[in-house]
Structures are given as structure tokens and as C-alpha cells.
Symmetry: C4
């Protein structure tokens, strides 16, 4: 299991190169999916895209198999019988992402799924990069640490969303039944306004609706800042703390092979 | 008054279950209103919606009656004659919200009010959740604690709003009398621009108006950050402080039955 | 000069009532201008609006005259000959605002200026409220204290604005000569995008222009936060500091009669 | 090399005046480019614009030559043979910007490049102002100091961008093949939504697409705050630190002639 060890040993050259190679392959594969979605390129290079996808999936399948195979050698699973260590390892989030990255290929052939749907699922491979980047894990940490504050902020936003949708539904329903004909339909407008995106494809036309929209916009601008301010302050703080113990973390992360 | 005590006792299982049940009923009832607003569902399941609403209002009415009835048992109202304790209790914000949650049902039948208006008022039931969540109360606390700062920030925004409306009214009035024909009409544009929502349904067309719009947008982006920054910093700070004394608060809140 | 002293004495009842009355009059006068701008109301109540305006200007003129007259009694101007104290006082920002509030009325009659222009100038009366509110002065203080940071932030925004205008001008000029035919014209788009207002009345149509717009939007979102973050943090900090010495300030402000 | 020394000596009057003169010339030249881009002015004053440009480039060329020439006199390059000091100096970022400011003029004549492209490149002269302002350098410092945090924030935004583009491509492809026909095309919509610019020229029309757009808008508003919050806090902090040692910095900057 020499090749497997590369995946779990820290600091050795071979392990680093394999990591870099896999990260590059993820990028390459995502770019490949994006280019494939351009109709002109899809027609011209269809064979090439199929071949590239086959090779990429083959490498990712090999990576997945080796990771599973080497699971009993991890300290974390010491003392377990090999099959149980492998099962446990397979259920960790990172390994599940690895599975999502290759499964669509096989299922697509078996079940004859829609090609475009598979394409979007293949984009989820990007999540495999979480293994090599702190960003995703920090984000989840911050959300977990501040979960009460987030819950409070989101429940305010949710209340604002429901009441804004209900109000505009009442005010604009007669004038624009196609856009504000039900509260769920009005929610699209409410979110677009509360987040200050403001496409303008759906806007109030009655004086009452315009006044209400102005109020909702003003409330939105104040409330929407809540989750982002919480996220931003927690994110910066957490990453600064991590920076201090960064080296050791890298080693540790590499050491347990996940 | 055994059932009533469930509402005011802390930590006992029954009280918690009743709380959870009521919170779930509020959610369920709001979802019901939202679904009822979809014309297709309204036609198909009209009888069901009426029945559900009747049951929900019945339960909320019972809850309201029990809360009122048990008022004299609360420490807060100790020493009052029962009728006065009940009157006082009925005038607390939470009990008023409870009244708003059930009154439309009865008034709707009596006064024959517009169905769609009642529907929106029924959405206000969502505010009953304030009893179980810290978010709303923290928001009000922060607004109260920082009321001077808020007042200052809003008076700046208000001044910017008035001057922006007046300016665009002067510049665009000739070119677009239907959208900028009066200062109140121009205010819709001014708020949409100052909050950076920017629908685009009303935009300046004259060179002077465009230049003015650019200036207003730039000022808006700076001023609008004031209330949200104040709110966000106060909100995070306040919830962190609360977190420490959270347990005790939960008990206390449950203990006084409100 | 008994009536004048009301304006400069602190804490006495009469002075406070005069202040409140004047603040209310400012509000009333601004609402009057706004209502007058609605064509329907303008036609119906033209005589009333003219009469109200005459009364308001008369009171403000009296106020201005009394403030000027009482200038030599102010400690600040002690030792000056009366006429010089009055001249100096007339050149303070607050007195200049007072002049702007009444001058349009007289000039309008003399020079036969455009009615709508005068209307907007009359809205500037709102600035008279600065005398009674800390907001405006705090804002100016913050801008002054952080002037270097602001200058840095704005020079970044200015550079981004120029380069964004130049880039989109080059990319979209051929496709949309009416909207991007010159760099100044393209600046309208650039500001609307950098501030994330995004009306959508002017948008790129070429692939290059769309790509450039995406980059400008992303840069805008990061840069635009600079001045508002500086303003918000300085504003909150400054108002908290002021809160401590608020009482004394009120006295002092009232005491020097300005 | 008396004139050259003006450029490298600190605090002397002549040096300061030359600096001010050059900064003013940069501004003047940029305004000139902007005005030239207006077709009406271009036709009317073509000769004038050509003459002004020639004079400006002549002065900037002289400045560039003198800076290069005086390079061996700088302490930094002490001990180098003159030609090497000059080469090294020519490769510093500030001197490269100086080169970019004049090169287009000469290349334009030689290679017959597109006039409009040259015009935009001439706008890059604005970057010459970095020599006289702290803003640009502080921005780069902050980005460098917080590069890990930025990388984390941008990799989150990048992941959100890819997944948002893929999702909307899948949902809206059938309904609007011209706007969402490929993932790169959908990226334009995704960035416009994530940054909350929200032009509205491309919006979802299917119920699924609208729901997805609402989710993306909400995520965008939270994620987009990350880089700007990092930038803003770092920027304010860094400029406050700089303010203390400002004087010395000015001297030092002037002293090393760059």
C-alpha cells in the first residue's frame, strides 16, 4: 500500500505532489465541465470531452478506492477490524464528497439520467477542494460557533420576508395578478428587495405598493447586514486564530490522511 | 387551573411540550395562510382551509383565555385583585399580539371584511413566536440602547432622502412627468437608489439627472451603512452577552409565564 | 432684546419652547413644500400655499434678524464692536443656512426665478435642523477626523471609477454608441455598478463588456465598503463618546446661542 | 544633474513644487483623455488634443529619463555600476508605471494601434499618482497581510459562483437559451446577483429558477460581505498605524527618490 501511504504521510515530497496533482485535476475537471456546457464546443469536441471525463473519473475512482483501502492504517480507526474502519471512513463528510464526485458517472450510464443534470452534479467536485483549503471548514466552524446569533438573525429576516410578501401580495394583487398572485410568488420580489439585488423584473406599480416597497427596502438594508456582519467578524477572527497554529494544523491534517 | 399552570411553570416536561406544540402550530398556521393564497389550491381545498383555520383559531383562543385566566397566579401581579391582574396582563405586548392573532377571525365574520386583508393580518401570528425566541426582543433592546445613534443616523438618511427627492424632481420633472411629477413620487426613486436596491423601473434620462443619480447612489452607499452597522454591532454584542446568562433567562422567562 | 435672549439663554422654559416651535416650523415648512409639488394639490390650494410660505418666511426672517441683532451679546464676540460681531456671526455656517432658508423667497420675487428651482432650494431649510441635532455635526467631525483615510478610500474609488469607465467605453462603444459613446457617459454606468445600485437601464451587451462588468461589480463591492465602514465605525464611536458629555454639550450649545 | 536631485531630495521647496506640478499634470492629462472621448469635442478640438498630448508625453518622457539617469545617485543602488543601477530602477513597479504612461504614444505611431485602445491605456497614467498617495500602497499591503483570509474568502465566493452558474444553467437553460445557454454565460447572471448589483437584464423566469435566484441572492449578500469586511477593517487599521509615523514616511519616501 505504498501509494496509499503517500496520501496519509505528512511532509514527504511524494505526498505533497499527489495532493497538488489531485487539486489541479479537480480544477481541470471543473473547467472541463464548464467548457463542455458551451454548445459550440460540445458539438465540436464531444469525443474529447467524453474521454477526458472517463480519465478523470478513473483517477478519482482510484483515489477513492485507495483512501478506503488505507483506512485501517489511520490512527483514528486503530483497534477496529479493517472492514469497520473502512465503513466508518466511508461515512466521513470528505469521503462522501469523493463519492458524489464519481457516482454520477456510473449512475448516469446505469439509469440514463439527464445529461445536463449530471453536468451540474459534476460541478460539486469543487467541494473536494475543501480537503486542501481551510475556508470551507472555517465557514462551517463560524456558523456553528455563532449558531444562536445566526438563528436569531435569520428568524428576523424570515419574519420580515413573510410579512413583506404578505403585504405586497395584498397591495399589488389586483394590479399585477401574474407577479403577485399568491404569497409564494410575492416572496420572489420580497427576497430580491430585502437583499437589495433589485432586478426590476417585478416591481410595484400602485402608490401603496411603491410606498411599501420603499419601507421594505429600508428594512432589508438594515436586517440583511446582520448575518453578513456576524459571518464576516467571525470569519476574520477565526482565520486569524488559525493562522497562529497553522503549521501544526497542516501537519496534523496531512498526518491523519484526511 | 392545571392546564394554565403548564404555561407558567419552568422546566417541567408538560410546559415544554405545550410551548413546542404552540410554536409548531404557529408555523403550521402561517404555512396554511401562504398555501391558501395560491389561487389553484384555494379553489381545490377551500373547505379544508376553512376547517384548519377554525381549529387553529379555537386553540389560540383557548390559549389566550387560559393565559388571561391564570394571570392572577403570576408573581408580577401578586397583590392585585384578580380582575385587575387580568386587565394588566391583557395589555402586555405579548398578550396583545395573541389577541391580534385571533381577533381577525371573529371580526371578519362580524364585519364582513375583505378576505385578502384578513389573510395578511393572519400572517402577523408569526409575531407570537417572539415569546419563544430571543431575536425580536434583542432587536428591540439594541434599538432602544442605541436610540440616540439611530436617531442621528436616520435623521441623516431622512435629510438625504428629502434633498435627493427634491433634486431629482427638479432635474427630471420635464423629461418624465409621470415618474418625477411631484416630490412624493420622486421619493420612491430616491429610496430605491439610496438603499442600492435599484430596480431600474424609474431611472433618470437627462444628463443632469444621471449625474445627480450617481452622486445620490454614492452618498446612499455610505449613509445606508450607518444604521445597519449600528444594528449589527449592537446585535452581535448583545447576543454574546445574553449567551452567558442564557440558561437563567430561559428559566426566568418560563417562570413568569410570559 | 428680551425675545432675543430666549434664543441664547440655556435651560429656561421659554428658550426651549422657542427652539421646539422653530424645529416644528421647519418640519411643517418642508412638508408644505413637498405637498405643494403635487400638481393636483398645487392647483387646488395655490392661495393657501402662498400664504403659508409668506408666514413661514416672515417668522424665519424675524428669527434671522433677532439672531443677528443679539450677536454682540454672545460671549464669543465679546470685545468686538457690535457691527463686527454681527458680521462675524452672519458668516458662521448656521447663520448662512438661515439666510439660504429665507433668501430664495425674496430673490424669487426680485429676479423672477423658476418656481421649481426655488422649491428645491426651500427644501434646504431642512439643514436648519442641524442646530438642534447632533447628527450632522458628528458626521462632519468624523469626516474631518478620518479625512486622510477618507481621502485614501476615495482616491481608490476614483481610480476604479476612471478605469472602469475607460474600459467599458472601449469594450461597448461600438455596440451601444448611445450609452457608452464617451467616457463621461460611461461613468454613469460605472457608478451605478460600483455602488451596486444596478438599475439595468444601461448594461453591457458584448461578451467582453459582460466579463468586464462582472469584474467591476466584484471590485466595486469590495471598494465601496471602505468609506462606509470608515464612516460607520467613526460615527458609532463618536456618538458613544458624545453621549457621556451630552448634558454639558446641550448646555454649552444653548449657552452660546448658536 | 541638478534637476534630477529635485526629484530625490526631501523637503526642499523645489522638489515639492515639481511633485505637485507632476501630480497636477497627471490629473490634467486624464481629464484631457476623458474630454477627448466626447465625439463632439473630439471633432472640434482635434488639433488641440493632439498638441496637449504631445506636450504631456514630452514632459513625462523627460521625467522618466531624469529618474532613470539619477538612479545611480540613490542610496539603494549604492555600489552598483551605473548601468546596473539604472536597469534595476527601471524594473521597479513605479518606473514601469511611468513607462506605461508614455509608451502607448510612441507605439501608437509605430504600430498604428487603434486610437480608442490607446485612449484607455492612457487612463492608466492615473496609477502614476500612487507615488504621491498612500492609498494604493496601503491597499496592496492589506491584501498582502491578509492574503490567507482573502484567499479563503475568495475561494468561497468562487465556489458559490461556480455552483450558482451551474444551477441556474440547469434550471433556466430550456426557457432562456440565449441568456443561460452555457455555464460561462450563466456566470454573468451569477456575479450580477452575488454582488447584489442586480441589473435585471438577465433574470430567471421559471419558478425553479426564481427560487434558486432568491437562494443565491441571500447567500451572495452574506458571502460578498467577507472580502469587503476584511479589506475595510485592515484598511482602517493600517492607515491609523501609518498616521503615527506619517511624517517620517513622507521624508523617507521623498528621500529615496521614489
Amino acid at each position: 500500500t505504498a501509494e496509499v501511504l503517500e496520501l496519509s504521510r505528512p511532509d514527504d515530497r511524494l505526498g505533497r505532489m499527489v495532493d497538488l496533482g489531485l487539486a489541479a485535476l479537480i480544477f481541470f475537471s471543473v473547467v472541463d465541465v464548464i467548457l463542455e456546457s458551451i454548445p459550440r464546443l460540445e458539438r465540436a469536441y464531444w469525443d474529447l470531452f467524453v474521454a477526458v471525463e472517463a480519465v478523470v473519473v478513473a483517477i478519482f475512482t482510484l483515489e477513492y478506492a485507495l483512501r478506503l483501502w488505507s483506512a485501517p492504517e489511520l490512527e483514528r480507526h486503530a483497534g477496529c477490524p479493517p472492514w469497520r474502519a473502512r465503513l466508518r471512513h466511508a461515512l466521513t463528510p470528505l469521503l462522501l464528497i469523493d463519492l458524489v464526485a464519481i457516482l454520477p458517472f456510473y449512475l448516469g450510464y446505469l439509469l440514463g439520467l439527464d445529461l445536463r443534470f449530471l453536468r451540474v452534479v459534476r460541478l460539486l467536485r469543487l467541494l473536494k477542494l475543501t480537503r486542501y483549503s481551510a475556508a470551507g471548514r472555517v465557514l462551517l466552524d463560524v456558523i456553528y460557533a455563532e449558531r444562536r446569533v445566526f438563528f436569531a438573525a435569520f428568524s428576523l429576516l424570515f419574519t420580515a420576508l413573510i410579512l413583506a410578501s404578505g403585504g405586497i401580495y395584498y397591495l399589488e394583487r389586483e394590479a399585477q395578478p401574474e407577479a403577485f398572485g399568491s404569497i409564494p410568488a410575492a416572496m420572489y420580489w420580497a427576497i430580491v428587495t430585502l437583499t437589495t439585488v433589485g432586478y426590476g423584473d417585478v416591481t410595484p406599480v400602485t402608490p401603496g405598493g411603491k410606498f411599501f416597497a420603499a419601507v421594505v427596502g429600508a428594512i432589508g438594508v438594515a436586517l440583511v447586514a446582520l448575518p453578513s456582519a456576524i459571518l464576516a467578524s467571525g470569519f476574520v477572527e477565526s482565520l486569524h486564530r488559525r493562522r497562529a497554529r497553522y503549521r501544526s494544523l497542516v501537519d496534523a491534517a496531512a498526518a491523519d490522511g484526511v
